[in-house]
C-alpha cells in the first residue's frame, strides 16, 4: 500500500502541511496546539463528509455488487437475479479468451497513444493560450466547443466524415491518393481514425487543465529565470514544466481512466470492427452484458478492467513520485 501514500503527494508542493499555525509542528506539541489540531480535523471531516457520503451512497453498492456478480454463479429468473454459488469460472473464461487479450491490447495501445498525444498537444495549446493577447477569450471559447460536443454526436459526425460513400474526409483522401480509401474498413486506418477523433475531442480537456496550472505559476519564477539569462526552451524545461508537473499528473491520471473506458467512439464509428480490431474492453464488456446477457462474465470483464486501470494509475503515480523526488534532489 506504499503507492497509496504517493497519491496524496500529487500536489503542488512536495508535502504541504497546511494545518494550523506555522509554529505548530514540532517534537514538543503543547496541549492547546493539539486541541486546535483536533478541532481542525473535525472541521475537515465535517466539510468532507457530504461529498464522501454522496459518493459512497451511490457508488459503493454498485461497485461491490458488480464485483460479487463477477464471482457468482448468477441466473436471471422470474423476479430478478438468483445467486447460486461462488465461482471463479467467469475470470477463467475471460482471462483465457483471445478476444479479451486482443481487446486489452487495443485498449492499452489506444490509451498510451492518445494520452501521450493529448498531453503534448494540450500543453502546447495551453502555452499558446497563455501567451495570446486579445484573442485569448475567442480562441479559448472555440477550443471548448469540441469538448462540449456530446460524445455520441461527435462520433456520428466523424462517422459521417469517414463514410465510405459520401464522407468529406474520404473524398479528401481520394483526391490525395487517387483511389477511394476504406478508412474505417481496414484495421490500421480504423485505429488511426479512432485516435484522431479522440485527440480532437479530448485535447481541450488537457489544454484547459494545464492552462489553469500555468496561471498558478508565480511571475517571479520567470523573472528569476530571465535574470539568469535562460532561453525560452530552457525556461520551459527548467521552470515551467516542473511547476506544471502536479497538474499534468492529474490530467494524465484522469485521461488514463477515460481512455481505458473508451466506449462511445468505437460503438458508433466501427462497432469494434473491422473484425475485432477496435473492440475496446468497454465494448467487450457491453457486448457480454447486454448482447449475450452473460451477467457474471460481463461483470468479470468490467472488474478485471478496473483492476488493470488501478494498477496502471498506481504505477504511474509511483513513477511520477520517483521522478519528482529525483527532480527535487537535482
Amino acid at each position: 500500500m506504499n503507492a497509496v501514500t504517493s497519491s496524496a503527494t500529487v500536489s503542488r508542493e512536495p508535502a504541504p502541511e497546511p494545518a494550523g499555525p506555522r509554529n505548530e509542528p514540532g517534537p514538543h506539541r503543547g496541549g492547546p496546539a493539539r486541541a486546535s489540531r483536533r478541532r481542525r480535523a473535525r472541521t475537515g471531516w465535517l466539510f468532507a463528509s457530504p461529498a464522501l457520503l454522496t459518493i459512497g451512497a451511490v457508488t459503493v453498492f454498485p461497485v461491490l455488487f458488480s464485483v460479487l456478480l463477477s464471482f457468482a454463479d448468477v441466473r436471471l429468473e422470474y423476479g430478478g437475479f438468483s445467486f447460486r454459488s461462488l465461482t471463479g469460472d467467469h475470470y477463467a473464461a475471460v482471462l483465457s479468451s483471445p478476444e479479451w487479450r486482443q481487446a486489452l491490447a487495443f485498449t492499452f495501445g489506444f490509451t498510451v497513444v492518445t494520452v501521450v498525444l493529448e498531453l503534448v498537444l494540450g500543453t502546447a495549446a495551453a502555452l499558446v493560450l497563455d501567451r495570446l493577447g486579445a484573442a485569448r477569450g475567442w480562441v479559448l471559447a472555440v477550443l471548448l466547443l469540441p469538448w462540449a460536443l456530446i460524445n455520441v454526436v461527435a462520433a456520428q459526425l466523424w462517422g459521417y466524415l469517414f463514410n465510405g460513400t459520401y464522407g468529406g474526409l474520404t473524398w479528401f483522401f481520394e483526391q490525395l491518393l487517387g483511389h477511394q480509401p476504406d478508412i474505417l474498413g481496414q484495421p490500421a486506418s480504423a485505429m488511426g481514425a479512432m485516435v484522431v477523433v479522440d485527440v480532437w475531442k479530448t485535447t481541450p480537456f488537457v489544454a484547459i487543465v494545464v492552462l489553469a496550472g500555468l496561471m498558478l505559476i508565480p511571475d517571479d519564477v520567470y523573472e528569476a529565470a530571465e535574470i539568469d539569462g535562460a532561453g525560452a526552451w530552457t525556461t520551459f524545461w527548467k521552470v515551467t514544466l516542473p511547476q506544471l508537473r502536479p497538474i499534468m499528473a492529474i490530467a494524465v491520471l484522469f485521461r488514463i481512466l477515460q481512455a481505458f473506458g473508451i466506449f462511445d467512439l468505437p460503438f458508433v464509428l466501427t462497432q469494434g470492427g473491422p473484425g475485432t480490431a477496435t473492440q475496446s474492453l468497454a465494448i467487450l464488456g457491453y457486448k457480454t452484458l447486454f448482447q449475450n446477457l452473460e451477467i457474471g462474465r460481463g461483470a468479470a470483464v468490467a472488474t478485471s478492467t478496473a483492476v488493470i486501470v488501478i494498477g496502471c494509475c498506481l504505477l504511474f503515480l509511483r513513477l511520477f513520485k520517483a521522478q519528482a523526488d529525483e527532480g527535487g534532489r537535482g
Binding site: 457468482a72 430478478g80 476504406d182 469494434g272 475485432t276 457486448k287 447486454f290 449475450n292
Partner: protein, 441 residues
Amino acid sequence: MALSRRTLLAGGLAVGAGLTSGCAGKSLDTLLTQAAHVPRTPATLTWWVSEIPSRGGPVVADLIIRAFQRRHPQIRVRKSNALSTTDANRAAVTTQLAGASPTPDVYLGDTIWPAQFGANSLALPLQKLLPKDFWEGYPPALRRVSEYRGAVYALPFFTDSAFLFYRKDLLAKHGLPVPRTWEELLRTSRRIQRAGDAAYGFLWQGNVSESLTCNVTEFLADADAPVLDHSGGVALNGPGAERAFALMREFTETGVTPATVTTYVEADSQDAFTGGRGVFLRNWSYAWANAADRSVSKIAGRVGVAPRPGFAGGGPPGVSCAGGWSNFVNPNSHNLGAAVAFARFCAGEEAQMILLKNAGVIPALQEVLTRPEARKIGDPTLTMAHTLRLVARPVQTPYYSQVSKALYTQANAVTGGRTSPDGAVRAARADIRTALEGRAL
C-alpha cells in the same frame, strides 16, 4: 481470514438478493393464471415500442393503441418510445427487465431475441394461452424463431424480408434481364460498370453487426449450407459454406462491390444506391419506399425489385432472412392479463390491417397480404412477400449472440480480404462451437 471473507460475500449476496427480489420465486403457474384473464377493472399498460416505419401518414403505434382501446375501454396503453437501433434498444430494455421492473408491460423486440430472452426469464412463455391453431396464419419461419424449447416467447407483429433492388433503366439500356443467379449478377454488373454507367454493381451490408449475419445467412442458404444441425450442433462446413464465403470475397475482389462494404450497414448501402452509384442493392422491403422518394433518391422511378438471386445449379432464387419485430410480455408486469391481451391484439387481423394500410413494413399475418387493399398500395414488396423462401437465423440457441458474432466477424474478414474463404469457414466453425459450449465472450 477465509472464513470472514466468505461471510462477507454471503452477506453481500444476501443484500444483493434482497434488493433484487421484488417478487423472486414467483412460480410460473401463478403468473400464467394471472395472464389468462383480461381484467375488467381499469388498468394501464406501458408498451415499449420503437418507431414503426410509416407511409407518411399518422404515427402507426398510436393507431394500434387507439384501436385496442376501443375494444378494451378499461385498459389504457401508454407508449414508451424505444431507441430504434437494435443494440441500444436491447441494452435499455434488458436493464429494466433484469432489474425486475414491472414496466414496460409489453415490449416490441427483434425476432432474434426469443430464445435468449426466454432462457433468461425476461419474457413470459405464452404457448399455454394461445389456441392450438394460432400459428396457422403466420410464416413457419417466424414461428421457429419465436419458440425456444417448445415455449413461445414472442407474438408476431411484423416481418421484414430481403429483396434485390435493381436499376430498371440501366438493365434496359444494356438489354439485360434481371439476374436470377449470382454468376449472372456478377457478369451484368461488370458489363454496366465497364460502360461507365455505375460506379458499383452490387451493394449489400458487410459491417461487423447483425446486418452482416443476415446477409451471410442468406448466402449460406443459397448454397444450401446450414449453420446449425437439427440437434443444435455446429454444421457449418464443406464446399457449400466455402462457396458462400468465396462469393462475398469475389464481390469485393472484382470491384463489383466497393471495398468499403465492410463498413456498410443498411443505411450506407441504401444511400449509395439512391445516390445512383450502384446497379443492384440487397436490402429490406422498406428500401422500396425510400428509393421511390424523390426528395431523397436520385433514381426515383427507375428502380425495380425482384427476389434475391441464387447460385447457378443451386436452389431457386428468393431466399430471404426472416427479420422483423414481435411483442414480448414482461413476466414482472402487474397487468399480465391486459398485457397478453394487447400482444395478441397486435398479432390479430385488425391491427395487421392497420399495419398494411399505414406502415412501411410487411404484416406478419399472411392472409392480409392477399387482400385487394395490399395491391392497391402499389408496393411490390408487399405482394411479393409471400413468394419468398424465408430462412431463420440459427436463433434456437440462447448463445445466438455469440454465434452471430462468430459469423459476422469471419465474414467481414473474408470480405475485406484478410482471410481466405476456407480459412474463414474453419475459424467460424471453431468460434461457433466455442459459443455453443458457452465459452465464448
